[in-house]
């Protein structure tokens, strides 16, 4: 069986992987308890969509908006820099999604 994921508030549309998750069924705990099929590998501490999320709509975690979707996101897939952006920090959505390293600057 896959590891668990944590959903903080009922209205959240993302959950957080409590350990590295493999494609397949995941146990969601926290604000609601249910099982969800995820379609890709999710690293520990990363988020995945609990529902389909349309481009331009809010990503909700802790019951608040933590950014907006930059494209349609399918339930059970990874939610990170390449499919969402901050409403404040315009730089962060241009960073490498896996390492977080800047791609908008060259050292010489």
């Amino acid at each position: 069986m896959n590891g668990k994921a944590f959903q903080i508030e009922k209205q959240d549309n993302v959950a957080i992987a409590l350990s590295e998750l493999q494609p397949g069924l995941v146990n969601i705990i926290g604000a609601q308890c249910k099982e969800l099929e995820i379609s890709m590998r999710i690293s520990e501490g990363h988020k995945f969509a609990l529902y389909d999320i349309k481009a331009g709509t809010a990503i909700i975690k802790y019951g608040v908006c933590i950014g907006v979707a930059t494209r349609d996101i399918v339930a059970g897939t990874w939610v990170h820099l390449d499919c969402m952006k901050s409403l404040f920090d315009e730089r962060s959505s241009h960073l490498d999604a896996v390492t977080g390293k800047p791609k908008d600057i060259k050292y010489e």
């Binding site: 944590f6 903080i8 957080i16 992987a17 409590l18 705990i29 690293s43 520990e44 501490g45 990363h46 988020k47 990503i59 975690k61 802790y62 608040v64 908006c65 933590i66 950014g67 939610v79 990170h80 820099l81 969402m84 952006k85 901050s86 409403l87 404040f88 920090d89 730089r91 962060s92 960073l95 896996v98 390492t99 977080g100 390293k101 800047p102």
Partner: protein, 404 residues
């Protein structure tokens, strides 16, 4: 657990405050006096004698306010101030501040004592005399309604927002309900959440203070194009500053915010307060936000926090001068690997070993014990960090004409 019924014996100060430790502070007033001050403390070999100081020769107003606030801190029983003899910062005036608060205080200049050796010998004798005067302290009953607790987070990972800061938030709610006082900080980590904070303002003045302080922090971040979030945070799964902010702000719990405190300012009444540690605008850009965790801890203690929570995900080992630090992690792996250093494992709630309610009870038990005199892990190891930098900060919140 009925919080009103829990009491412990505290140290009574002549200004009416109650302290949970009875410390002697040895304070240097310039870097040139720091070696002598540190030698006095290390040769005195007393666990409750500790050194703090300011390195600059110029009397930076922020740093002086910090020193004065630490001298007046209820955990401090007596003070020795060591100066070189030609600096702007006046050891005699600092000793006067201590005496006005009813605390035994002495001072000297190294230049007038004939140098290093004689100054260290004199300092050790003076510390012994101060220790004798603290021998039979007046004690008084203290409870959670008298307690001021500060909270900050550092080295955060995804568990901080899920468990570490969450248990602190619940603790703060219960502490405030019991009549106690809680202080949280890191306004630069509240970017994106101004509405959430102003909605919790207890008064109209508090609402304006929060909005003005937020506006200042946002302008700072925009100006330097740098938000309080880094590649390591992104690699760990955080996607935006708003997400990181929420994980940090959750440690404030849910009670009304009474207002914004500047560094060194005591809370005017019980309840929950937001501490602003960011520099105020100044043509020299004096000071940076968040240079390290101990700066934040020192700022919280300067507002009268008897003890401070440091919430960490990746782990930290620090303690502090003046007040005990209780280190909390939401990451059980970090707790296991740093067990000699970290006091509290909030990760139990993520593994399902423990309910949120039971975890908060555990934390209250630990805080009650530490307030009654039990050492935290960093106290046991002898950690006494302090950090007093040059910074430009106004004494009061500068109100801005903001659109709320």
């Amino acid at each position: 657990m009925d919080l009103q019924e829990i009491t412990w014996k505290a140290f009574y100060r002549k200004d009416g405050k109650k302290g949970i430790r009875n410390k002697i502070l040895v304070i240097y007033t310039v870097e040139c006096a720091s070696f002598v001050a540190k030698e006095i403390v290390s040769k005195a070999e007393e666990p409750e004698v500790e050194v703090i100081g300011f390195s600059g020769c110029t009397d930076n107003a922020y740093a002086i306010r910090l020193l004065i606030a630490l001298i007046r801190h209820p955990n401090v029983g007596a003070v020795l101030v060591v100066g070189l003899g030609c600096e702007y910062v006046q050891p005699e005036w600092l000793a006067d501040v201590a005496r006005e608060a009813g605390k035994p205080a002495v001072w000297f200049y190294i230049q007038e004592q004939g140098g290093t050796k004689k100054s260290i010998l004199l300092g050790i004798q003076l510390v012994k005399k101060l220790k004798d005067r603290l021998q039979s302290p007046k004690t008084v009953s203290m409870g959670f309604q008298d307690l001021v607790v500060g909270a900050e987070c550092g080295g955060s990972d995804y568990t901080s927002g899920l468990a570490g800061n969450v248990v602190v938030g619940h603790f703060f709610d219960a502490l405030v309900d019991a009549g106690g006082t809680a202080v949280f900080e890191e306004i630069v980590e509240a970017i994106g959440l101004v509405g959430l904070l102003t909605r919790r303002a207890a008064t109209q003045k508090a609402e304006q203070e929060i909005a003005s302080t937020y506006e200042k922090a946002l302008e700072y971040c925009k100006a330097v194009r740098q938000y309080s979030v880094s590649p390591g945070n992104f690699a760990g799964g955080l996607s935006t500053i708003e997400e990181k902010s929420m994980g940090a702000v959750i440690k404030s719990g849910s009670r009304p915010i009474q207002g914004v405190l500047k560094v060194g300012a005591p809370p005017a009444r019980h309840g929950l307060w937001l501490l602003d540690t960011t520099p105020d605008p100044h043509w020299m850009q004096f000071g940076i936000t968040n240079p390290n965790d101990n700066e934040g801890i020192m700022d919280l203690i300067s507002c009268g926090a008897h003890l401070v929570f440091l919430v960490t995900g990746r782990g930290n080992v620090v303690g502090s001068a003046v007040a005990p630090v209780i280190k909390i992690t939401g990451n059980s792996r970090t707790y296991l690997s740093l067990q000699d250093d970290i006091d509290f494992d909030a990760g139990q709630v993520l593994s399902g070993q423990c309910s949120q309610e039971a975890l908060v009870q555990q934390l209250f038990t630990m805080v009650g014990n530490v307030a009654a005199g039990s050492y935290t892990k960093s106290e046991m190891l002898g950690h006494k960090e302090y950090f007093i930098p040059y910074k430009y900060q106004e004494k009061d919140v500068v109100m801005r004409p903001c659109k709320l």
